[in-house]
Amino acid sequence: MRDHPLVQLTLARMREFYREPEAIFWVFGFPIVLAFALGIAFRNRGPGELRVAVLRQSGDSGVAAALAHAPGLSVAVLDSAVARLELRTGRVALLVVPGERLVYRYDSTRTESQMARLQVDDAVQRARGRADPVRVEDERVTEPGARYIDFLIPGLLGMNLMGSGLWGVGFSVVQARTKRLLKRYMATPMRRSHYLLSFVLSRLAFLFVEVAALVGFAWWMFDVGVRGSVGALTFITVLGALSFNGLGMLVASRARTIEAVSGLMNLVMLPMWMLSGTFFSYARFPEVMQPFVRALPLTALNDALRAVMIDGSPLARLGTPLAIVTAWGFASFVVALQIFRWR
């Protein structure tokens, strides 16, 4: 029986991948390590105690006593030099200078200092007998999907689809070119389409493991769920993987050395790492940048993944981001085929 060349090429791709321990780590292990580290670092533990200081001079004990019982504040009485240093380095959020008129010394651009300003003033005024005219009551809720980890996991998934899509194709193609293996294949009756298709097939084979590992870990460790359908999530990840395969093919289409392709990869990926809302919302970037940011394939992919995982959107509502992802992939494939250097 004759082996089909597409099957053999795909098997070769897969073998070369899973026999490379480093590649296994970067594709499967790294996103999980990243999710774990960031999930722990940014877990929602509420605002911690705010550290404030009172300058050691006459009247300090009265102020310190007023602040001592305020919830969420920890108070220290410090000498002038120490106080100045701690304020400058952010170890205390605010410094109270006692006197006839109290002075609050703080950096108004820091959120913590702003909060300290409100809480300290509240405590001081109440201690001096301020009465609140309205009775209020606190009701604390935690919405599922509102935590940082819920935002982060779809972003990591998107970033991983980009990274493994680009590296998987780019590295193998350029390595085959530098080792003259591509030229050797050209000396056989092998069909070029089979060669290129083998990258897509081997990518899809590993894609499911890759997605399941990260989503499963996030669910097990942080209770991050998928609100939308698993079918929609699968569709989007496959589309994203294929699109970045196309981009990888384009990046690798001409490069003759590993160094050149690595540079190109980073050139393509770096803007998306920063701009596409993987680790923080791209809404933070100025309005004028928004059309550019939204046109990036990773931005569109991340939006679609978040819509399905966090909001439970159906695919029908994700036309725009999915069209952007598809367009990037399709255009890259077409151009790559035109300019591909086969030797």
Partner: protein, 311 residues
């Protein structure tokens, strides 16, 4: 119909004329060698014939077909076995997986077992390519070329950089293919390889063929079968002149070189005593005296004035 026929091949890389108008015809069933120093244009020529490099000018006909692209090219590729000079096969695949991959590209082919037996790599079938020795890698490269049961085998410097034992093993593989009726075009810069394997050789220099024939006829064209080389202990002080040497009994040609002088001679038993007598008269002292049968290397040196290896 010749297996390979090309006329007026020209290939230029920038200012360098790699192939400068080359005509060649290789008969089916023969082993033909392109012999020449590095940079002579051997690899460019063989890659043009293999349809991998388009020539700037000239016609190529392989097994009666042409590199026109499309169906004719594919049909031709099915019938050729090609080993390229600098291919590195994937390190992380096993020998068997590599052969199976190449095998899958062809419509008719040897089984994996057959081809591993041909190159005597059966016991390495489960080893990663990256773990093979240089000679084993090269035999695997030839296995990938043989897997298609080719009619015509192209080998570009198949034994360069191999130790003598690996080289002999590969010569056996090539010899068996030749004995089974296959046609071979190989390039080499080892004259003993060309003499041992090839029915005919073309000596290339600067993109041109400067001599063509059987190894025996090329050596015979020197007009003498032996080479006597000598060097003097005190350098040029007492060295005899070229005219004096040429006049010695049985000497056909004199090639002076900085480190040694070579005489092409028909009869060693007459030339050597005459040489010793001449040196004795001039008071020169020998530091080296050696004789060998004339080789293709001597043909090359005679034609170009340069050594093959450092040309």
């Amino acid at each position: 119909m010749p297996a390979i026929r090309c006329t007026g091949l020209v290939k230029r890389y920038g200012d360098v004329l790699a192939v400068a108008g080359l005509d060649l015809a290789v008969t089916a069933g023969e082993c033909f060698g392109l012999l020449g120093p590095n940079g002579a244009g051997k690899t460019t020529t063989i890659e043009i014939l293999e349809g991998l490099t388009p020539p700037d000018a000239g016609d190529v006909e392989i097994l009666g077909l042409h590199w026109t692209g499309g169906a004719e090219t594919r049909a031709l590729r099915e019938r050729l076995g090609i080993q390229l000079q600098d291919t590195q096969l994937a390190d992380k695949l096993t020998v068997e997986e590599t052969v199976r991959l190449f095998r899958s590209f062809y419509r008719s082919s040897h089984t994996v077992d057959e081809v591993l037996a041909l190159v005597e790599l059966e016991e390495k079938r489960a080893s990663w390519v990256g773990k093979l020795s240089g000679g084993q890698k090269q035999r695997l490269a030839v296995a990938c070329a043989l897997v298609s049961r080719p009619e015509l085998l192209f080998l570009d410097e198949p034994t360069t950089g191999l130790d003598p034992q690996s080289r002999r093993q590969l010569w056996d593989v090539i010899g068996r293919f030749r004995a089974a009726g296959g046609t071979i075009l190989l390039t080499t810069h080892y004259m003993e390889e060309a003499e041992r394997l090839c029915d005919r050789v073309a000596i290339m220099d600067h993109g041109k063929i400067i001599a063509l024939g059987t190894p025996g006829s090329l050596i015979a064209s020197l007009g003498a079968e032996h080479v006597v080389e000598f060097a003097l202990a005190d350098g040029a002080a007492h060295a005899p002149g070229v005219d004096e040497l040429a006049a010695l009994a049985g000497v056909r040609a004199v090639r002076p070189a900085p480190d040694r002088t070579a005489l092409t001679v028909a009869e060693v038993h007459r030339a050597v005593p005459a040489l010793l007598a001449l040196l004795e008269r001039r008071g020169a002292e020998l530091s080296l005296l050696a004789t060998h049968h004339a080789t293709l290397e001597d043909v090359f040196v005679t034609l170009t004035g340069r050594q093959l290896r450092d040309a």
